[in-house]
Symmetry: C2
Subunit: 432 residues, 2 copies
């Protein structure tokens, strides 16, 4: 008689947490609706090739990959973007742009479990496809702010960078793509010495190293000042200057929109996924080291998947991490004051009547449990009390002859005989 356990890194959400998870999911869905994003549902299992195509090495090596019974190499999705890009490159290929697409679900990475990091995790994901304009990037930031605000987080910061600035330097230095990605990944992990060594080995100029060294020092909350300094630092790199201007334009639009999100610009910021081409974003709360969400612009991914050239920008928000942040910031859900009822038959022959009354009340929108343990009334009432149920209805033979039951208000400890047809009205009246 062995005891089974959940698999390491996988997690159960018990009712209290599951409720918060679904609450955040509903807020994300509402945000999607308000911003015009249509929901799609894509499979958890995708071809390994698709998922590995443009993920960084870190993600690729941590995928749950395996052969299915038909000998196909598949994997559990570690992120949503490849699936969305696949759809846009295939099924949605001929639909007019832009697409605003939303999805929500579970994702899988074989990371070392720690606070806020599980091997199965949940995200909501927003992508705008077809627009290369800064207003699309600004929108992604605005909706992130809307979502964080709507779940009640009080204090959060958006970390902002721009991959184009670094890529502009590397391109002009004629670095090959593989080295470039390696350097970006080292910078993502803040292993700057290793990154710079690689840059030197690749034969980059002295100026390149100096510029990179300057950039990684440029960070802070005065984003427009920092943008100006970035522009000066990279002035010899034409593509990088264009990237800085793009960044500036996005930040200006966010500012003009009245969105009050707290932004921290970090010129040396990189992200682990290889497909980013423009702005990159991560959202943080002071109470946690890990990001609550992240995203950015990726203008070449759809092409890579065989679709038409489609610029795109997107962001994913970690639902279980947002829950953790809410717990850290003592955010509680708005209580819906819904009273619930336990219906208890006084004897076995009245079970059918109890079920009937329960159904009547449910049809009136009242939450009803029926006593199904065959307990004595007193035991059932104790249980109802313990679980803070608002009312008990005791279905007894004598009252039933008059089409009535005993209604007991468990909070006020009052009880009255009441006509069955009046119960719903009475309970709803007490609620308001």
């Amino acid at each position: 008689m062995s005891t089974f356990r959940s698999v390491r890194g996988m997690r159960d959400f018990l009712p209290e947490e599951a409720k918060i998870m679904r609450y955040i999911e509903a807020k994300a869905r509402k945000t999607a609706e308000l911003y015009g994003y249509k929901e799609i549902i894509t499979p958890v299992v995708e071809s390994y090739e698709l998922l590995a195509a443009k993920a960084g090495e870190e993600v690729r090596l941590r995928m749950y990959a395996f052969k299915d019974l038909g000998d196909r190499m598949v994997a559990l999705r570690p992120e949503f973007t490849p699936s969305v890009a696949r759809l846009v490159a295939t099924t949605l290929r001929n639909e007019p742009r832009p697409f605003r697409l939303f999805c929500v679900g579970s994702l899988y990475r074989y990371d070392e479990p720690q606070q806020g990091r599980y091997r199965e995790f949940w995200q909501s994901n927003f992508e705008v496809m077809g627009s290369n304009k800064p207003e699309a990037d600004a929108e992604i930031i605005m909706l992130t702010n809307s979502l964080m605000e709507s779940v009640g987080l009080k204090n959060y910061t958006l970390k902002v960078g721009h991959v184009g600035v670094l890529r502009g330097i590397f391109n002009q230095e004629k670095m090959d793509e593989k080295t470039e990605n390696q350097v970006m990944q080292l910078m993502d992990r803040k292993q700057y010495d290793d990154a710079f060594r690689l840059v030197e080995e690749a034969g980059a100029s002295k100026k390149c190293i100096t510029t990179l060294q300057e950039l990684i020092e440029l960070k802070g909350y005065k984003v427009f000042d920092i943008v100006e300094k970035m522009r000066k630092s990279v002035e010899k790199y034409k593509q990088s200057v264009a990237a800085v201007e793009n960044l500036q334009e996005i930040l200006k639009l966010v500012f003009e929109s009245g969105c009050k999100i707290n932004m921290r610009l970090d010129a040396g910021f990189a992200r682990g996924l290889e497909y980013y081409t423009g702005i990159i974003l991560e959202i943080y709360v002071p109470e946690l080291d890990i990001a609550l969400g992240g995203g950015g612009r990726y203008d070449r991914l759809i092409e890579l998947f065989g679709g038409e050239s489609t610029p795109a920008v997107g962001i994913a928000h970690g639902i279980d991490r947002i829950m953790l942040a809410m717990q850290k910031q003592n955010v509680t859900l708005q209580k819906e004051e819904k009273k619930n009822v336990m219906v208890i038959p006084a004897k076995d022959e009245l079970k059918g009547e109890a079920l009937k009354i329960a159904n009547l009340l449910r049809n009136a929108g009242i939450l009803v449990e029926v006593e199904v343990m065959g307990r004595k009334i007193s035991k059932a009432l104790e249980d109802a009390d313990r679980r803070k149920i608002a009312y008990a209805i005791i279905v007894g033979g004598r009252e039933l002859k008059e089409d009535a039951v005993m209604l007991r208000n468990l909070m006020k400890r009052q009880q009255n005989v009441i006509k069955i047809e009046k119960i719903a009205e009475k309970i709803k009246g007490d609620c308001s």
Copy 2:
């Protein structure tokens, strides 16, 4: 430049279908709430051992099983019940009973894809744990009816059987468990000749075969008549008589509750999962061969997983199959008349203002898209028209000086200059 595809048997839900899927999910969640079921979220990846423990061979052989990077044998859940049972046997072990638990999510089986059968599918799942009373079984039937009714299905039938009737016969005939399960599976697939041959080989009596032959003929909508005939057929098998009585009691409670679900009793009905011990259920619509949902009583599963003896009954409803049934029965969603708006800046310098107005309206609960393609006004309006957007707001320099914009009703083809502060009110007024 290859084109990536989804994996065979896996499916994408585009916005129209995703909406129906989420609608059914929300109805299932509402049903859970009305009946007092608490939602839990369990992982998609579970230990192979757990999932294989009591699944029938058919399910076991079709699981997505593999080793994770830590060399653990894991699988994608083919059903919810083992996960719920695991929780009840471990984390919830010391909580007072009964538990009413609800979950919803995706499941995985390597079946041959066909209409309504995918390798990733979605279910809502309801389980009552801790009660061996017929009112718990009746409740599962009642809530299934509530769910089917609430999504708008017009015509559906609940197929009912009782595994205890067959198991009672096999026990008295001293058949070993393995053979018993094989026979049940053959009967599930209606391969009666093979089933009876196996029964004979196992040394069962002539009476046993006769009784089984009688039972498989007993089926139909007059459930109480059929129950009486079943009782006569099995009168020499004591456990089977008790099972028939249990079945009768459940059906009587459903009838007394006023639940009008169309039931079809089938005395020879078996189900592929080995863990059932009592009533078994499947729900059908006339338009489809496959079941929309199924479940039953399983009183020994929790023990098997190392928990305390906990009788239980549960049912799962296929969300994607319910969607298919709705499509076949031409059920359409209740339209929420939510008007949407496209905000178009008349020139580049007004993008920030456009974003600001968009946000203002969203804060008032209005669905707003911003033009992000950099199109001319006329092109953007064409696009809004094509996508049946209700209003366009054109943000122009001249009107803006008066804190106003052009509001265009795209249905009525009227436009007026309107103060920004009045837009929300105006649009909401038009809605009602």
